[in-house]
């Protein structure tokens, strides 16, 4: 009889390249814990990422991993899930990957509602390329690419995905590992596209107010605030504080999840299977 899977069964032998103290260590640990609780075998999991420090994450798990190209994790993950809906498909990356170069894919992955869990490690900076502005950087932030300060407003990932229609939207921080593991687990269990924004500090290029220590002091649990995750309007209200307040927990969870693309595809397959010409005679479709 096989023994129950534990967190370390999902941890690979590859040694992370992340800086000591990087928030992403916490994220990957929370993922190990969430996966162990769900209990799917690593070979039934596909974990896709783009490019960036955080996008190294699939390699640190024992799942089938795909460390792809910058910004394109979501399209690849959707292809995987549609090709084999039985797989558990995780997608992860940074704020640049998800809301800058790959920003165009987020809305469509959400409206397609393919059952994926998308974890963004949001650190408001480009770490891998050594400290440039990211799409979530605050206005006025001075970096190597904004010597006199950013002149752009940051995007609000939470508000974006809520308005795109995501069925599950949550935020966490490695400053509260239990809560982070919980929302990742819930996101995976949610039947449809689920989004988790993780405030994951960059210890090398990040500002002081984005570090774990600051998180511990400022974070506020949505659950303790009495927020009802079924209340979408209230969720959008709370999400507007992105960048000012660090709310953790579930902003929104659709109590009546919409049908997924793959479920609709399954129905179509069922309805149409066998209605085509046999393959060997497929060219009969061109009989004038």
């Amino acid at each position: 009889m096989s023994t129950a899977l534990v967190a370390k069964d999902y941890k690979s032998e590859l040694k992370p390249i992340w800086c000591p103290g990087c928030g992403d260590y916490g994220v990957v640990s929370a993922i190990y814990r969430a996966l162990a609780r769900i209990g799917r075998a690593p070979h039934d999991i596909a974990f896709v990422s783009g490019i960036g420090c955080s996008s190294r994450i699939p390699g640190y798990t024992t799942a089938y991993g795909f460390n792809s190209v910058h910004g394109r994790a979501l399209p690849i993950a959707q292809g995987i899930k549609l090709a084999n809906p039985d797989l558990l498909v995780l997608v992860a990356g940074g704020d640049g990957d998800g809301f800058s170069i790959g920003g165009g894919h987020v809305a469509h992955a959400i409206r397609r509602n393919i059952d994926l869990t998308y974890i963004v490690m949001d650190n408001q900076i480009y770490g891998l390329t050594k400290g440039q502005l990211s799409p979530t950087s605050k206005r006025g932030l001075k970096t190597v690419s904004s010597a006199f300060g950013s002149m752009e407003a940051p995007v609000n990932p939470l508000l974006y995905v809520l308005s795109y229609g995501a069925g599950y939207v949550a935020q966490g921080t490695p400053a509260d590992m239990d809560a982070l593991a919980n929302i990742i687990e819930e996101a995976i269990r949610f039947p449809g596209f689920a989004f988790v924004n993780v405030q994951s500090p960059c210890v090398t290029y990040g500002e002081a107010d984005t570090q774990i220590k600051a998180h511990k002091e400022t974070m506020e649990s949505l659950e303790k605030l009495g927020h009802n995750p079924a209340d979408w309007l209230k969720a959008t209200d709370l999400a507007q504080d992105y960048g000012n307040k660090l709310y953790t927990g579930v902003f929104y969870q659709n109590p009546n999840p919409a049908p997924t693309f793959e479920a609709a595809a399954k129905e179509r397959h069922h309805a149409l299977r066998g209605t085509g010409f046999p393959k060997e005679n497929i060219l009969e479709m061109f009989r004038p």
């Binding site: 590859l14 075998a41 690593p42 070979h43 039934d44 999991i45 596909a46 896709v48 490019i51 190294r56 699939p58 390699g59 024992t62 799942a63 089938y64 991993g65 795909f66 460390n67 792809s68 190209v69 394109r72 979501l74 399209p75 690849i76 993950a77 959707q78 292809g79 995987i80 899930k81 549609l82 090709a83 084999n84 039985d86 797989l87 165009g104 894919h105 809305a107 469509h108 397609r112 693309f261 595809a265 179509r268 397959h269 149409l272 299977r273 066998g274 209605t275 085509g276 393959k279 060997e280 005679n281 497929i282 060219l283 009969e284 479709m285 061109f286 009989r287 004038p288």
Partner: protein, 601 residues
Amino acid sequence: MKEIMRSDLVIGMAGSGGDGIVSAGEFLITAVALEGYHAIMTKSFGPQIRGGESSCRLRVSTEKVLNPGGTLDVAVALNWEDFLRFGAELPVGGNTIVIYDSRTGVAPDKLPLEGVKPAVVIPVPIGEIARKAAATDRAKNAVILGLLAGWFGIAPEAILAGLRKKLAKKGAEVFEANQRAFDAGIEYTHEHPISADCRMSPAVDEKGSKLLTDGNDMCAAAALFAGCQFFGGYPITPSSEVMHTLSREIWRYGGTLMQAEDEIAGIGAVVGASFAGKKALTATSGPGMSLKTEILGLATIAEIPLVCLNVQRGGPSTGIPTKSEQSDLFQAVFSGHGDCARPVLAPITVADAFGITVEAFNISEHYQTPVIILSDQDIGHRKETVDPIDTSKYKIVDRRRPSEKELQHYIRFRITETGISPMSQPGMPGGNYLASGIEHNEAGAPTAKGEIHARMNDKRLRKLNPLKSRRDLYYIEGEADAPLALISWGSVAGVAMEARRLAQAEGIKAKLLVPKILFPVSEEIYQEFLASVSMGIVVEQSHQGQLHRLIRMYVNVPRGMESLAKSGSNPILAIEVLERLRALLRSLQRQRAKEPAHDGG
């Protein structure tokens, strides 16, 4: 009087959108296909989405049709302005029979054609006949069908059957009105006979033996035959019909289609689906191909099979979206950063698109590589009769998957003798690995070590070498010792083929090589072909003569091998290729006259 019949007829028609010129062409080709003729029909439109000018060319023959033909035998103009907009696409010559709507107010001896005096010019009150017979201008195309059936003997019953079938949905009244217009057209030809040598000979092949389709649909069907289970793509002219057909058909075979938000997501999803174990296709053109380039590189380094169909159009950038060109060869072969190589295939006819597409899937699976199919707008959109294809002759190749034993100590990118490593997929216990765009070692772990990078590059490039021995992907005709040669590819190959056969009929010894695999370039096969050659022409539809240049990168091409290359939307005609061959022969003879004789005792 002796009745001479034609075995080959090229008809060109033009009118405004709404005149139904293209549907007239569709009816005609359906009718002749049912009768057992060989035929090709090309359509051409102005840049407008609706309305504007439209035209079609139909070549009907009792023999295999190699290309859409050159100068028209019959030209039909509903109005001259529209007709003339198609310029070289509808060339009128001294032997053309011109039929036009007399309402255009143009006198038969004052046609707006520069420097051409057509053999026969017939003004016909086409609009008037339509209105009289069917009480609507919209029946003009049925009148034209009647005229063509009457004067050229093109299958009246079959045309009528086609009209009935097509108009069934619109009710009996609509069909009857069209039938009256069609009959009135025929009647007009009885009242106004023209010389009998215009009539088509009866078809040689059996009635009902032909299939009829275009290159895009053929690629879609072939993909399903090859086992394609996923399509991801974005609408773009002239490739969209591949997605249209698959959106109707792929589900019947258990596959899934995703219309992506952009070209990148389309091929991204295809990479994902293939990583997960399914054969997958994307189709695109022009700018779409440029956008897909980065992910093609990813598929190369991550060794993921996929097929990317590029239905070429005029470029660069938006270029000429509705016209054919062969100018994406360099891009197909060389695009992408890094030491990146991928097989490139090109069909030469609609029928050929079947085998080439199946082959593209087979190669992609066997070698675990992206494969590009370079079709073009001409093949993609032209309707062509297709002789029955024995599908049992085509074998289907699946990627090599790891055995139970190999999964015990699985190494995804293991360096093997062939460079091909067994490929696992999610769901397979023990096969877990990291696919990546970052350079990796044999186990899949990221690396920046030069030595490993060199070894992996070597593996990925070396594995494609056996493709250089695929003689079945090179079409050769003509005598092996011919001193003159033609090399051509894709849709233009049919023009070169006809030119060579015309040359042979004149006693000019020329041979033809058509590579259906453009990359990797087989030095050996080209070198062998060129051994007897002193002069020749590489015929292609790109301004730079891309194939001519590509071959010279790899092969010692004789200096007498010239380029006949034209930008897209400028038809290359068999007659001009023939003229070049005649000129080459003359200079070859002059050259030989100067040289002392080598042979003999």
